[in-house]
Each structure stands twice: as C-alpha cells, then as structure tokens.
C-alpha cells in the first residue's frame, strides 16, 4: 500500500523564503501554461483545423509569436476615453487578474508541492472565481461606451447563471470524497477502489460523468468562450466590455481569460481526473522502494500539466467548432437544464453514497 502521508522536508526554511518561492512559482504556474495553450491551441491547432498554417515567421514554426505580440502591444498607445471613469477603468484589469492568481493558490501539484493547503480548498476556489465578474462589470461600466455597458451587463447575467451549475456540479465530488480539501479529493481518488479493484484508483470522472460534463460546460460559459461568448460577441458588440481598452491593458484581460481557462482545467483535473496522482498500478511498479511521495513532488506537476492540456484541448475544440448561443437560449440552458440536472445529480450521488 502506498503511503500518502506528507514526507518530512530535510531542510527548514523561513516563512519569507517559502513564501517568496511560492510567489515566484505562482507567476510561473499562471503565465507559462497560458502561453503554452495560447500558442499550441489558439495559434496552431485552430489554424490546422481551418486548413491554414497560422503564425510561421517569428521563430521556428512561429514559436516566438507570443513575444512578438508582447512587443507589439507594448508599443501601443494607452487610450483612456475622455468620458470614462478613469480610476475604475484602470483598476478593472487588476481585479480580473486578481481572481486568476487567487484561483491558482489552492491547486495541488504534488504531496508537498502546494501553495496553500486550505481545509476548504475547493470552496475557496469557487468563491474567488467569481471575483472576475466584478472586474468585468467595472470595465463595462467605467468605459462609458454603449458597447462596453451592454457587454458588461451581459457578462454579469451569464456569469451568475453559470456560477450555479459550476458550484452544484462540484457537490457530487465533495459527497464522494467526503472533504473540501483539494489534497483529500486527490487522495480519495488514488486510494479509491472500483468494486474492490484498485488498479487505477477511482477517478471521479467515472462515477461523476454528469457532474464532469456540467462542470466543463459551466467553465466554458464562465470564461465567455464560444459558444457562450455573447458578452464579447465581436460581430455585434465590437469587443464587449474590452472595446475601449488598448495595448497592455487589453492584453491583461486577454491573459486573464486564458490563464483562468488553464486554472479551471487544473481544477477539473483535480476534481475528476485524479489530480497529480498516477494510477496506483503504475506507481506500485515504479516506486516500489517507497520513495513515492518524494517522486510525486517532481512528477506531479508534469502529470497535472498533461491532464490540463487534455482538458484545455476540449475547451478550444468546442470553442472553434460551435456557433454562438443566443442570449435567451443561453439563460434557458443554464436555468432550465443544467441547474435541475445538477440538483438531481446531487440527490442521486447522496442516495448511492448512503446505500453503498
């Protein structure tokens, strides 16, 4: 049996040292996956889907395109509309990125490789994920533009509607794991057994497939990705709440959106795909000498990145495949389908948990 207890760290570090390292790693954990998925999926995969090459000039196969974009945006003039509420207008990108950085705080990367191991980890994540709504409303309102205002109001209406399926889909996982702690949820999946057969653990995607589908749909809507992109519908609202932003301020919204997409994929990997864990039969074969938890601190982040790339692939695949929902269809879908289904999912999961 593998031991999942936290191993003792050999060296002792002061609080400011560990915190400084965590802040550096958070910077990496937010920006590197965002850059990777934007290049891999948004630039290249969509191009191949549409029978074109995508960026090819900057670096081999356009791999330095992101740096070129950064340089381009850095040189753009920062235009603040004369009528705008300047302070709120400038503060909005900060609030959007605040939500992203607080979300990454609770994602576990290995037995010891965590930023913060809150007892109510997933609850914290769900709470801070809605901070971005405030940033979007601020951007929409402060721009003093009709497109921005409409986009911001649409975004708020959509985000509150899809917040509920997102929260309720997680309840099924919490019932099965019996804990709100992210490490506890990972451990429940690694140590779990499917009718006494524990070779692959018990990833909750098998038992919570309904919850997983609801979660991924709600994530798509929370990120205002196509087909849920009414708030930024470029063919009718120019660019929604981002209309009046230019240069680096616009780029901050862009980074916020795609970094949050990755972090939601990380969260979905933890909740439904077993997080940083590898299937126990693999772990048993590889780490027979008992160094399991030390090894997982190194391999865990790579496992998480693999699962994240698989899930973001689905997000972008859907994004480039489906046409946009109409506003009323979008609200109907959330309130009349997703919420009742997730309530039934909670009841059925609870019933099976008590019976079995």
């Amino acid at each position: 049996m593998l031991s999942l207890t936290t191993s003792t760290v050999a060296a002792e570090f002061a609080y400011w040292q560990t915190s400084g390292f965590k802040l550096l790693m958070a910077f990496v954990a937010v920006l590197i996956p965002a850059g990777t998925t934007v290049y891999l999926y948004l630039f290249k995969m969509v191009s191949f889907m549409q029978s074109r090459l995508g960026p090819m000039e900057a670096g081999p196969y356009g791999s330095l395109q992101l740096l070129a974009e950064l340089g381009k945006n850095a040189q753009k003039e920062d235009i603040v509309p004369a009528r705008a509420d300047v302070l709120v207008f400038k503060l909005a990108p900060y609030v959007v990125l605040l939500s992203t950085f607080l979300l990454v705080l609770v994602v576990p990367w290995g037995p010891d490789a965590v930023f913060a191991d809150f007892d109510t980890g997933i609850f914290f994540a769900l709470a801070v994920s809605s901070v971005s709504v405030i940033g979007i409303l601020m951007a929409g309102w402060a721009s003093a533009s009709k497109y921005s205002l409409l986009g911001g109001l649409r975004a708020a209406g959509q985000l509150i509607a899809y917040e509920l399926p997102l929260v309720l889909a997680v309840v099924g996982v919490v019932i099965q794991a019996g804990t709100l702690n992210m490490q506890g949820i990972v451990a429940a999946q690694i140590e779990g057994e499917i009718f006494g057969w524990g070779a692959i653990g018990n990833p909750f995607i098998l038992t919570q497939i309904v919850g997983f589908l609801i979660f991924m749909v709600a994530v798509q809507a929370e990120l205002t990705q196509v087909p849920f992109d009414m708030p930024i519908a470029e063919s009718e609202l120019v660019s929604g709440y981002m209309t009046e932003y230019s240069g680096f301020r616009f780029l901050m919204f862009f980074i916020g959106e795609f970094a949050t997409a990755n972090i939601f994929a990380f969260l979905a990997a933890v909740l439904f795909l077993g997080g940083w864990g590898v299937p126990p039969f693999v772990a048993d074969a590889l780490f027979a000498d008992g160094n399991y938890s030390q090894w997982m601190n190194v391999i865990g982040p790579l496992v998480m990145a693999t699962k994240m790339l698989a899930l973001t692939f689905i997000i972008y695949w859907v994004r480039f495949t489906y046409p946009r929902f109409r506003e009323d269809q979008l609200q109907t879908f959330a309130w009349k389908y997703l919420i009742p289904i997730s309530l039934v999912n909670i009841a059925v999961t609870g019933f099976l948990k008590v019976v079995l």
Binding site: A116, I160, V354
Partner: protein, 121 residues
Amino acid sequence: MSDFLREFLLVLLFGLLAFGVVGLFIGIASILRPDRPTTGKVENYESGVDPVGTGWSQSQIRYYIFALLFVMFDVEAVFIFPWATRLEAYGWFGLVEMTIFIFILALGLAYAWRKGVLRWV
C-alpha cells in the same frame, strides 16, 4: 501568528502579486508606448460615427429576478457543502433531510419557471 493564519496570509500575498504583475507589465509598457491623446482618439468608439448622448445610456437590466434566484441557490450551496462532507456520518437521516431541503428549493425554481420569469425577454 498561528499556522492557520499564516497560511491565509498567502491569500493577501497572492493578491498583491496579481496587482504587482499587472502594474509591472503596464509600467514597462508606459516607458515604451507613445502618448499623444487627441480629441478624436479619446472619443468613445461607436462604429465610426460621433457618439450619441453619454455612454451611460438607459439600458434595461433584465436579470433582476435571475439575481434573486441566484442568491437563493448560492445560499443553498453554502448549506449543501458542509452536509456533503459529513454525509457518511449522517446516513439516512442526513439524506432525507437534505432531499426535503433541495425539494423545497426546486419547488421555488419550478414556481419561477411556471410564472414565466425564466424567459429572457
């Protein structure tokens, strides 16, 4: 300071990090970018024509009822999460109790549905 509070201090630190990152990026850009606002440039964008009225035009906020329903279900979620972690200990009592609770809330949703307020007009 207790370990518990120290762990939550990270929330503050990560918040400051987010502000620092955005501030750093925009700060770097402010060295590189030009700054020549003209009256035409700082006008609000309205598809190329001169903007009509102020930007904060009257617009219908359609989701007043939706916001109320949202609060109702969000509070419900706050009650469901602690119950979900302890379900194994509560057993049948907890299950029946929560089924009644969810049923009453679902009744509220069904009432709103029947009244037609879930139609986005």
